[in-house]
Subunit: 207 residues, 2 copies
DNA sequence: CGATCTGTCTACCATATGGTAAGTGACCGG
DNA sequence: CCGGTCACTTACCATATGGTAGACAGATCG
């Protein structure tokens, strides 16, 4: 039985509920714009209960980051473990990110928020996800060496892929401007568009 | 002589100086996290001078958005006016956005911030830039019809291009994680990477 | 010269914020 | 049954926030 306070009707501990609400708020409103008071009201809890579990707002942020980094890493590692090789591997990862976006959009929102938080919060997240970046660049490089993919700077290529995927998943307002509704159907269309785009950009005829 | 208050040593009116500082702060710290007090201190001005020119923080935001939308539109329109056709046109626009990012990074930062602001602030920006989106999708569609570019959904394609470019220009923390320093040289490398990527994704052999 | 207008300032204020201090009740081992 | 710990609460507090009211100096104009 994990510590974290009394459990509610759904078996969630208080500290878990706080983390969930904080993640949602940080991801959509931003860290600085999120207030402990508002969080507490939303949870029907007193602010001091939050400060009991997380002695300061910054500590709460760190906890949210750590938990999210783990969840993100696990999701990606899982998709990598079962994925094939070559282009199929890229496709599997993109698909799993889109699945994650459908199930837990706040996670992707938090990733975007990282940029604004700067050191040391972002450093925390970055170092947690670092191994994945290493694996990914290594993989891309190998595929290029094997002639399966067009040659690019693997780090910059990864950055471009990341930007495209995250952007198409999180820029809701821009999506609206481009006439895309935030529906599941639209999500699938965006995923397929990205996959097509990446495939024609990356895969060589040799593969 | 445009109104806007007394002019400083460099000929800038007070209201212009306020708009500049606000743009910078909104773009990097975010709207909600920016305070009028901090803005005033940075400008060596009293907060009430800000509220004299812009009667509320929200009005200030609207003014910043309007001015930025105009500046952005003009920069893009200019690059479109002198650009050639086909792939050269896409390349010209991407290059001009990168030039803009080097000269006025806050403009791009504000675009990213739009997503968080939601209605009605984003609507304001979106409707100001809307004509550009129309022109761009129309152009892409024509190129596809002519067989110069691979067929895609033009709106989704534009969204993908936008996401990639904005992401690679604004996600400073992620850039750091990927080992890219925020230098001019790195900017050029990122630009070239994007151009290569887009070219292999879009251009058909027929072109 | 006196009245008015413009731009900026000083003096406040209600509210919201992150955080401290000290309680209260339920449970638990001895 | 009783002292202590755990989870959470009420009661505050200093500071920061967006915003109001009004004074004051300099220019403009009749």
């Amino acid at each position: 039985m994990p510590a974290g306070g009394r459990t509610d009707a759904h078996g969630a501990t208080t500290s878990e509920r706080i983390l969930d609400a904080a993640l949602g708020s940080f991801a959509t409103r931003g860290y600085e714009a999120s207030s402990l008071d508002a969080l507490a009201v939303g949870l029907d809890i007193r602010k001091q209960t939050i400060l009991y579990w997380f002695p300061s707002k910054e500590v709460l942020l760190e906890a949210v980051i750590d938990r999210s980094a783990i969840e993100l890493s696990e999701a990606l590692e899982a998709s990598l473990a079962s994925a094939g090789s070559g282009w199929a591997r890229v496709e599997a990862v993109v698909r799993s990110v889109f699945r994650l976006a459908a199930r837990r959009p706040e996670l992707l929102g938090l990733v975007r928020e990282m940029g604004r938080l700067g050191t040391p919060a972002a450093t925390r997240f970055v170092s947690a996800v670092e191994p994945l970046v290493q694996r990914a660049t290594g993989f891309l490089e190998a595929e290029m060496d094997a002639g399966h993919m067009r040659r690019h700077d693997p780090r910059l290529l990864l950055l471009a892929i990341y930007s495209t995927v995250i952007g198409m998943l999180t820029e809701v307002e821009v999506l609206r401007a481009f006439g895309e509704e935030p529906t599941a159907r639209s999500l699938v269309r965006r995923r397929n568009e990205i996959l097509e785009l990446l495939r024609s950009a990356l895969v060589t005829d040799a593969a």
